[in-house]
Symmetry: C2
Subunit: 439 residues, 2 copies
């Protein structure tokens, strides 16, 4: 871990800089696989599965038998945990339902927004050794609440051709029934273009390795929307002398175990807290199965002492962390000054793990400093806000002259004429300034 | 104009297909200019202005003198129109202010969202013969309402080194004071990376030609967020026999005058309406200054007769138009069935020009079928919804065991341990199941 003492603001850009993620070298390989899937459909996906996931498939769709088998395989305690998490995620996301107001901007001119679900969405759940059933909940629960008509999930099978049962169970609990055994670039391609089995979707969600990230970027240029750009997971802990060192250390390690490129930063006004955290990290690290990964990640972890809380907040906002844990005496006041972060955890008992799994907030969050411009996934991510305007004759009389002025000012005379023809009709009809929209 | 009669659904993909927009051939040129700006700052931008806009600049920033000069140059009627438009746009967007609810997903676990403005945004306003002062309003007004701390506007100057006065006046009315004389790829680069004069921003908004589009795509991969992918403007008119042919024709022409690649489609259940529209288009076209452009655009315009309103609505949703004008007897019922569109215009007096300039809705909308997955620009576009969770000891006792289960299920033991250390502390302290968050 790297200790930094009272850096001047001119050092902040170096402190907050993320490692450069260069997917350029993958571009050709990814483009190639995407093209194969676009042209070859299911067969191409299955070829890729054989090549990359070393699995021989005769079909892509998960069957009802497999769903039921999965339900039998998951132990009851984990099932109960998944159900509780789902309930909390649903409660939080259901409260985000949008109700647009009708605004009469001028008499006779009424405008409103309506949230309409994206018809077809695709969820990508990476495979590998750790089955990310929590991500299934985080993406599928809001998709259902939003009312997306088609929710497609792709996840790579193991070499035995099966999907991890907890992933299937979580999908069932979340209400997703169209699940396909496909991973990596080929899964992204299948959902972006559609194949014989896999429906084409309009937006793809979900994490993944650098190949998946590069694939999502490529398909997002023209074919499909994506949730957000990706990057290694990260946490910043903002702490004063009242913070609990054991808790802080546990939170840093929790992030570090994700992968060697994970980011874990401590920003504190207390040198003694930092010392205690260093000790605790050393102590707790030994007990972790993934300690080698965590240790490697911690090598580039920064533990920064700053002079006061203003600087701590300033540096935190400059870092724009994916997850921000605030462990200070006055965390509510500090929270009010957060400008750039994905998800914020308040108080000693708000461990990041809570948001990762079960508090109800979403864990699909902007990394890599993208928190400066992106929100995490939420109910909004699954809808479009379509605008509507209803204009009466009175309304057009009211704003028509202004439209004509502006259209002419922009040299768009047909835009002007579209108003003129209507105003002339109203003048010819000698219609009253009535407000019946159906006139 | 292409007349299509009662197409079967299998023909719909061809009908709704957009022309392929290939910016691949520009990629290298654009990448090159972006690199020059990233490395050369202001000087590189001014070199590009000399090369591409044929203008010699000694500095980029618009001065207060230029702002005041501009105010004197704009005629009073246009000023009044711009002010009225601003007022309506403000009324509609201010009503979109977000108030997140606090949700106690479990006792002791409270979650909420807070909308926090993006600190720095960049607005690009293309130049050329038509000064798009309306776009200034559409982007700057919500940026101000959202509370973005830094709002930067770039627009190319004319060869005399001056920006069109109406653009500057609209910027002043909308509250934007940092305006820079830069266009094209160099403007996008300046805002994406920052130069000596131009602040780096976190998100870039605004329309542009294919070079600007390609530049926005490239910088959006890593450096900055963008509002949405771009494409030629488009309208679909959904009409029955009660529609007014002169109004429909005027609306199609209004779109066609934008450019030869603009899209204008009519979807109607009435052959006689279509005949009348064809006649009206012929009549009205002659009166337009931009008739050659409009005529060229209309060559690929489709006028489709369908059997009934169900098909009309189905085809319209399949097209996913940027603008949708509904001229039917029962437009409110038809409107309720819209699934894919950017902005919808209801009733005979709701000309698209109204939304383009002054109804209050935003005119920066998804083209190219992107309406299937993207919203138009609105207040949301200028904020992030940051999530917060506050968890008491009681709350962690409640959800902690579930988190532990799930973390172990995903083989993330440090995530489990971050809960365990806290639950053990609570057990050791023998603390009551109190609900004081500050415990």
């Amino acid at each position: 871990m790297i200790q930094i003492d009272y850096p001047g603001r001119e050092q902040w850009p170096d402190i907050v800089r993320r490692p450069v993620m260069d997917t350029e070298h993958l571009t050709e390989a990814v483009r190639d696989i995407l093209r194969q899937v676009r042209e070859g459909g299911d067969r191409a996906v299955m070829d890729c599965e054989a090549r990359f996931d070393k699995v021989s498939l005769s079909s892509l769709a998960v069957t009802e038998d497999e769903m039921q088998e999965a339900e039998r395989c998951v132990d009851e305690e984990l099932k109960a945990a998944i159900r509780l998490a789902r309930q909390n995620i649903e409660a939080f996301h259901a409260a985000q339902r949008f109700e647009g107001k009708r605004i009469e901007t001028q008499p006779g001119v009424t405008c409103w927004q309506k949230a309409v679900p994206i018809e077809r969405v695709g969820l990508y759940i990476p495979g590998g050794t750790a089955p990310l059933f929590s991500t299934v909940l985080m993406l599928a629960v809001p998709a259902r609440i939003a009312g997306c008509a088609e929710i497609v999930l792709c996840t790579p099978p193991g070499r035995d051709g099966r999907v991890h049962p907890a992933v299937l169970f979580a999908a069932r609990v979340a209400g997703v029934s169209r699940i396909f055994k496909a991973g990596g670039v080929q899964a992204i391609g299948a959902m972006a273009y559609g194949t014989e089995s896999v429906p084409k979707v309009y937006k793809i969600f979900g994490p993944g390795n650098q190949y998946v990230t590069a694939a999502k970027q490529q398909v997002s240029l023209r074919d499909v929307a994506i949730d957000m750009p990706a990057g290694p997971s990260e946490v910043a802990v903002l702490a004063d002398e009242t913070a609990d060192a054991a808790f802080v250390a546990a939170d840093l390690l929790s992030q570090a175990e994700h992968g060697v490129d994970s980011q874990a930063m401590l920003i504190t006004t207390s040198e003694s807290l930092r010392r205690a955290v260093v000790d605790e990290v050393g102590r707790q690290l030994q007990r972790l199965p993934r300690r080698e990964i965590a240790a490697k990640s911690l090598e580039h972890s920064k533990l920064v002492c700053v002079a006061d809380m203003d600087e701590a907040i300033g540096l935190t906002n400059a870092y724009a962390p994916e997850h921000l844990i605030i462990q200070t005496a006055d965390y509510a006041q500090v929270a009010a000054r957060v400008v750039n972060a994905g998800s914020v955890f308040l108080g000693p008992y708000a461990t990041e793990s809570a948001g990762d799994y079960a508090s109800g907030t979403n864990h699909t969050l902007p990394t890599n400093g993208y928190a400066r411009a992106y929100s995490g996934v939420c109910l909004d991510s699954f809808v479009r806000k379509i605008t509507f305007q209803e204009i009466t004759p009175q309304g057009l009389r009211r704003i028509g002259p202004a439209i004509q002025q502006m259209a002419s000012g922009e040299h768009l005379e047909a835009h002007r004429a579209a108003v003129t023809v209507r105003l002339q009709r109203l003048a010819a009809e000698g219609s009253p300034a009535g407000d019946n929209p159906q006139d």
